[in-house]
């Protein structure tokens, strides 16, 4: 039993395909980006709310606030999916080792 596990570690060190490095689920990065930009945009939207000169272009709609909130929501959803994917990926990794 002990010997078998030792063999496995040697093998995993030798073949690059089994390297211990783990990819981060791509959705986590996307989620972080949109959660951050969404927060910034909605904060900007709140602070400039009601200023006609800023929002003349966007037909008087506080586009920063509403679109910022939408992006924040999208970011949180992506983070949730990414976390789930990451946990599954690490579980699969543990099973293989």
């Amino acid at each position: 039993m002990k010997k078998a596990s030792k063999d496995l570690t040697v093998k995993s060190a030798a073949s690059p395909a089994m390297s211990p490095t783990i990819y981060v689920d791509a959705r986590i990065a996307v989620g972080m980006f949109f959660a951050l930009t969404g927060t910034i945009l909605s904060a900007l939207g709140l602070s400039t709310r009601g200023r006609a000169d800023v929002y003349a272009k966007s037909l008087g709609i506080d586009a920063n606030l509403w679109w910022g909130l939408a992006l924040l929501g999208f970011g949180i959803v992506m983070l949730a999916f990414g976390r789930r994917g990451q946990i599954q990926m690490e579980k699969a990794k543990k099973l293989r080792l």
Partner: protein
């Protein structure tokens, strides 16, 4: 005039930081050439699909779609759908199992299209295609770098940086090319194909996030969907208006045009171009690789709406004019003068005229009409609708196009160089570490060459028009060779080699003998002897590609019949008929999904008919 506020800059910088950090965080995982060049072949299908779509939606396509929206109307959406969706479905259902699964020695999967050609045909076909591909990929990467830099310079994005450094106007253009190019090079060198694909996913999301508000605001301003339809002159919404010579009727000519666009342009891009296919070939297994083009096709159904609508809206908005506003306030008289460059004033809606670089005056065509710079339609609509803050995101979306296309060219050409030039011909017994190193050097050298091409394009604007010719010379014949190689076991190496060369020559001959009406002989065609006049540049480009494809198909087939075929035992896994049997088509989820996507595409396009 400063266009960008600090909020816009903040968002642009965060975006740049995220792209770089993908490279940095993935760098430790790049243990061998397989991780670096093929993303370890363990990515899920949805990621491959999103990256595939993003790689195929480079800056030229986005600007072209916005331009087509302004020039040919909403119907051009059908053209883009036809040019991509059937080909993507074909790639997913038929080609991916052959390309992904092909393995000559077991456990050594095919890494690139030239490598597949080498296994299926012979080494000379592989070398020829590898060389042509490298030239094409780096040339078009350079051109798309330049195209987007032109937009960035026109929007004064990097003016603050350039003014700080006291750069002349050409310096701003160079800076707009160099900064994104360096960022792309950095993350490709660090994280290879994996980093490129992670960023393509992010770029795709940013593209949607940056452009969707423009579409929504534009629709609201036009009074909703019906309001927009009402404002458009009759026939402009029609699917084929302006596309062909027939002017919008379903006759033989139109149907022929549809077939040609679908088969040659779509197939030459989505079934052939390794810059796109590399993302699907990095999937973790055959079914993920088959799903990738299908997922991309599903998203592609609605994507053109996002690009074509802004360009289309640009025409309907009021043209900026030089105005002097006199106000009387508390007894004092204010003169407010808004100066608009003559080229902008001569334009239609928000689409400016093409400005003469020396005088700034609008350029006129042979018929005396002002030539419009349709590529600026999309950027100008962003400026017109987005308040500062969101504008940063919109510009990030434009930058995203530039980068996803350039990164796809770079990762594809470093794979082709490392596998099909370095390992195949320069150093046959190269170790894995040496291949990895060759790949990284190829990325650096490739970016340098692409930058050189971009600088050449800066000197002579005509190079922009050569992109379609290069496509017809390289991709259209290659599609014929791949199609016959994957589907017909009788096709031979001599046949494919002769077909590739014949296709290249045919493209040159066709381009040299046809001249669009109102053009001078030269880069626009007719440089040998003018024999016929296609309706416009688009018709010339499509005709050249179709001619090259047909010639290549015929030459490959006829030479194959007269040369000795390889025994079937050598072709195991390389031809569709030698693939392991899969379930009948109605039992495969992939073909059912493909049917659904096709129906959805038809339904969306019917909206415009």
């Amino acid at each position: 005039m400063p266009i960008l506020a600090s909020a816009d800059w903040l968002i642009l910088l965060i975006y740049g930081f995220f792209m770089l950090s993908a490279g940095i965080s993935l760098a430790p995982a790049m243990a061998g050439s397989r991780e670096y060049l093929q993303a370890g072949r363990k990515l899920p299908g949805w990621l491959s699909g999103a990256a595939l779509l993003s790689a195929g939606t480079g800056s030229l396509e986005v600007l072209a779609m916005g331009a087509a929206g302004a020039r040919y109307g909403l119907g051009s959406m059908s053209l883009f759908a036809l040019g991509s969706i059937p080909a993507m479905l074909f790639a997913g259902l038929v080609l991916m199992p052959v390309l992904y699964g092909a393995a000559s020695p077991p456990g050594a999967p095919v890494r690139s299209i030239p490598e597949y050609l080498g296994l299926r045909f012979d080494q000379k076909t592989r070398a020829l295609n590898a060389g042509l591909f490298l030239a094409m990929a780096l040339f078009s990467a350079g051109i798309s770098l330049y195209a987007t830099a032109r937009v960035l310079a026109a929007l004064h994005v990097f003016d603050i940086v350039a003014n700080g450094l006291n750069l002349p106007p050409t310096g701003i253009l160079l800076l707009s090319m160099a900064l994104p190019a360096l960022l792309v090079l950095a993350y490709v060198l660090l994280g290879g194909l994996t980093a490129a694909m992670y960023n393509q996913l992010l770029q795709f999301c940013v593209l949607v996030a940056g452009l969707l508000p423009v579409v929504l605001l534009g629709l609201k301003r036009a009074g909703g969907w019906s309001g927009m339809k009402a404002k458009v002159p009759a026939g402009f919404l029609h699917a084929w208006a302006g596309a062909g010579h027939t002017g919008g009727h379903w006759d033989m000519g139109t149907i022929g045009l549809v077939l040609v666009i679908g088969i040659v342009i779509g197939g030459g891009t989505w079934c052939t171009d390794f810059r796109l296919l590399q993302t699907a070939m990095a999937a973790k297994n055959v079914s993920a690789a088959r799903r990738a083009p299908l997922i991309a096709a599903g998203m592609r159904v609605i994507l053109p709406l996002l690009f074509i609508l802004p360009g289309f809206l640009a025409l309907g908005l009021p043209t900026p004019r030089t105005t002097i506003l006199i106000r009387n306030e508390n007894g004092a008289i204010y003169h407010e003068i808004t100066v608009v460059p003559p080229a902008v004033e001569a334009g239609q809606g928000l689409v400016p005229a093409i400005a003469d670089p020396a005088t700034g005056k609008p350029v006129k065509g042979a018929d005396g009409q002002v030539l419009l710079d349709y590529a600026m339609a999309m950027p100008n609509v962003l400026l017109a609708f987005l308040p500062s803050g969101l504008l940063g995101l919109g510009l990030a979306a434009l930058l995203a196009c530039l980068m996803s296309g350039a990164a796809a060219s770079l990762t594809a050409s470093n794979t082709v160089f490392a596998c099909d030039i370095y390992q195949a011909f320069l150093k046959r017994n190269a170790s894995d570490k040496q291949i990895l190193k060759a790949g990284r050097w190829a990325a650096a050298g490739g970016m340098l060459l692409a930058f050189g091409a971009a600088c050449a394009a800066m000197r002579s604007n005509d190079l922009l028009d050569a992109v379609a010719l290069v496509f017809a010379m390289v991709n259209a014949p290659l599609f014929a060779a791949l199609l016959l190689g994957a589907l017909w076991k009788r096709a031979t190496g001599h046949g494919a080699f002769a077909g590739l060369i014949a296709g290249l020559v045919a493209a040159l001959l066709h381009h040299g003998t046809a001249l669009p009406r109102g053009e001078q002989p030269g880069i626009h065609g007719g440089w040998i002897v003018v024999l016929h006049h296609p309706a416009n540049e688009m018709a010339l480009a499509i005709g050249t590609a179709a001619f090259a494809f047909v010639v290549s198909l015929l030459v490959t087939a006829s030479v194959s019949v007269f040369t000795k075929a390889r025994p079937e035992s050598e072709l195991a896994g390389l031809v569709r008929s030698s693939q392991p049997a899969i379930a009948a088509w109605w039992k495969q989820p992939e073909s059912l999904a493909a049917a659904a996507i096709l129906l959805a595409a038809i339904a969306v396009n019917l909206l415009f008919l």
